[in-house]
Symmetry: C2
Subunit: 497 residues, 2 copies
């Protein structure tokens, strides 16, 4: 793969100067056109040490409109980053729609370095690369334009370059150490590039020996990608088309009328009840356990994500309070999921959940969640069928990252019968401090019960994985529901500690 | 001060139950009314260990609308927090307008603990308290409603309570250690409360022995504060009135026609020029120095904030590029200050700058800055005279925190003559890749040159402090300007390292 980048390409100052003004004007005009577009651009600048990655980043910043671009270098991790799944640091740096993010270092850096230094075996390396492919697929499905640049430097050239940098005092700390592993590094990188070179996220290998050549080629690649995307009949179309393929394949799985008898939810036994006395006793018992376990988790740096979904008036809020009562307020945060802010709207729908992941030893409780994508957004038509259909896989991949990182994760669907919901709606309209909880919207949603039931069924079917199973909570009796939830959390924590 | 909270107040279950439903309904209705208001509410819950702070936080969360409240516990610092000025962690947790933030722990915690453990002398403690008064004043001036609750527990009661918590497994790690210092803690806390008890940020000391009593009183205090503020003739008025006093006093300083002869800017010698050869030589020299210094700063964990203001077309952008060319892209971020996002608009105007402060060893470069408050916002009337006038003091306090934290800080006003600006505007309209930089707005701004000159004069007069002096850059010759800027940065870094 790198042979094509050892041909000795150079560009004379004269030809460079002749081409530059036009290229800059075109690049800038494409960038300005991007502003009004609803997709983000991610430019990955990677390659060998000394290949001029830093210089290229400078140059791109010079040639683009500084107001629409931000550069992120992924280097040493902060503890806040280390305490969360690896992708968190990339999510927090994602450019919003209409903006360009230049990533100096990326999700490739760590897998490649680990493999080169023998800290990961080949099979682990391949698995990491496959996860990258899925991750990039998710970004491009959402409309992101990915431009992946690899600056290649032949071995001799690298040595020359590092010496020059050293003389100028510009050498980064690990550069010489990496040089000694040149051959290994090249082999590992080639494998990474081959395995992650996909139609919507293709690699561009650029010969980096000559500054003028590599800069012009990089700018050309970026320009071509921008222009192709901007000139597409309808830009979002690209994403929709791509998603359409996957959607088509998956659609078969979910199609076919899920009638009431077939519904997973209809099989849930809602008859569970607890007497006041039994509830009081069990509540105290479970809360006591949870309290101790939460402190133990804190000491061991184990974090937890709890997620609550359920019908309106199913009792999510009051169940969450029974959980939080048992925990020191320093140990948890409750995130109520409401309408997204404009910073959130400018990002992939999972971004707003990534930003709330807990630090080590802490808990984040989501009151409603990323499943909104396949529930309300599906039912109300805010997401296209292709979008909500591919969300199942995206959500599974997201939750897998939580669990792989060692986060204790539980997700609850609090279920009630339509009759019980009606009773609670009516009750809410009478009690003063509950009136604010019942709105016209709740009544409207209630009419769509069958649509929601279908959506919930699909969600449970596709997203009940071995690592993150759904806990279906029988909620017609609030006391019974709360104890089920507390017991589940206590069991998960006990198993983890 | 605490004597009033040792009177043995209790509340019978009967009276508690009788009062509760009304109180909850009122609290909730006040909270719902807050949603449409343009001010944030900060509730500080502090006091002795074992006084029930955690329980109170739970209760407030239960009684308020969960969608409009967020709770933040300030406990152990992450390294990202540690590497920035102390207030950064509070800024990142600030509630937006229309929302309630419950702060469990606050800016009082560390000064009090440090004083109790003898790590700060009395005079340092007092200075810390004075900074808190100024900080809270800034928040309330901006419209924030501050509700400061202190739960007081007599010594005997604290012992009983800690024992109970211990039995229930709910004791926080340092609780017994703190108990041994009860008397010291009480004395230090009293001093803190007295010194920071101001009209717009008053303390409410609540006797905490009886759960029902302390919870109802706390809710009453919060309710009264909310209602008073909501019923004020025009809510923002409170802030404006308060600011008006200060504004009136300061206004004298800035009033009086600043005529051209008196202008600081008019005294700046703009005749400096550099030949191409001298420029090339000095650029290479200064960039080499900066490159080495940036790596040295990285090794020592010294961070840097550079800030650029100046006339349109003064050459800020190209000067910034000469700085960044010398630095590894992993070491710096450029923040171009444009229109705020809605998350930013919902906060104090300084919030959006706090969020970009660099980690240890890194540099943030602001292209335009917080001075927008006293420049464009003043001239265009986006900020009231009271608002921009008090901003001088707020900005000085902000910059002092940067410098006190050890951040190397430089701020540049890049100055050009009106004639030179005109020449550059015309040039921009001709060169293809510069056209995007010149808009109708630039021409409009140019017509307001005298207004801006007055604003710049005021800014330099009020915000050139010994710890953060303005560097006025003679910019009619771009080469000359760039070298001045590079030299200044190099000098600052050399002095710091």
């Amino acid at each position: 793969m790198f042979e094509v980048a050892e041909l000795g390409h150079t560009l004379s100052p004269r030809r460079y100067a002749a081409r530059l003004p036009d290229l800059r004007a075109q690049l800038l005009s494409a960038h300005l056109a991007l502003r009004s577009q609803k997709f983000p651009v991610i430019v990955i600048v990677s390659g060998a040490d000394g290949a001029g990655k830093g210089e290229l980043v400078h140059r791109l910043n010079e040639w683009l409109d500084p107001r629409g671009v931000s550069t992120h270098a992924f280097w040493d991790e902060s503890d806040e980053e280390h305490e969360r799944p690896e992708a968190w640091r990339f999510w927090r740096a994602m450019p919003g729609r209409g903006r360009i993010g230049i990533f100096f270092g990326s999700w490739y850096t760590r897998p490649i370095i680990r493999r080169v230094y023998g800290k990961a075996r080949g099979v682990q390396f391949d698995a990491a690369l496959d996860r990258i492919v899925a991750f990039e697929r998710m970004l491009t499905d959402d409309g992101a334009l990915l431009v992946k640049l690899w600056l290649h430097l032949p071995k001799k050239q690298q040595k020359l370059r590092l010496k020059k940098l050293e003389e100028a005092g510009r050498l980064a700390p690990d550069d010489w150490k990496h040089y000694k592993l040149y051959d290994k590094f090249t082999g590992v990188s080639e494998r990474a590039l081959r395995r992650t070179d996909t139609p919507l996220a293709a690699w561009h290998v650029i010969e980096a020996t000559d500054r003028r050549y590599r800069e012009l080629v990089a700018a050309d690649v970026l320009l071509a990608a921008l222009e192709a995307r901007l000139q597409a009949p309808s830009s979002p179309q690209v994403a929709t088309l791509a998603a359409g393929e996957a959607g088509g394949a998956q659609a078969k799985r979910v199609k076919g009328k899920v009638d009431r008898a077939n519904s997973i939810l209809s099989h849930l036994d809602l008859s569970g009840r607890l007497s006041d006395a039994a509830y009081k006793r069990q509540l105290a018992e479970q809360q006591g356990k949870l309290s101790r376990l939460a402190w133990a988790a804190r000491r061991k740096g184990v974090s937890m994500v709890l997620m609550f979904e359920g019908w309106d008036a199913a009792g999510k809020g009051s169940a969450i309070r029974r959980v939080t009562q048992a925990m020191d307020p320093r140990l948890y945060t409750v995130v109520g999921v409401a309408a997204p802010t404009d910073e959130e709207r400018a990002q992939h729908y999972l971004w707003r959940f990534w930003r709330h992941l807990p630090r080590a030893g802490r808990t984040t409780i989501f009151d409603r969640s990323w499943y909104g994508r396949v529930l309300v957004e599906r039912v109300e038509g805010f997401a296209t069928p292709a979008e909500w259909d591919r969300a199942y896989g995206e959500i599974n991949a997201f939750e897998e990252q939580l669990v792989t990182h060692g986060i204790v994760f539980a997700k609850f669907w609090v279920h009630i019968s339509p009759a019980e919901q009606l009773r609670r709606f009516n009750e809410r309209q009478i009690i003063a401090h509950k009136q604010y909880k019942i709105t016209e919207e709740d009544w409207r949603n209630r009419k769509k019960w069958p649509d929601y039931r279908r959506a919930v069924d699909g969600m449970i079917r596709h997203c009940s994985t071995e690592y993150a199973p759904w806990t279906l909570v029988a909620g017609d009796d609030k006391k019974f529901a709360r104890i089920q939830i507390l017991k589940t959390i206590v069991q998960r924590l006990e198993a983890a500690l």
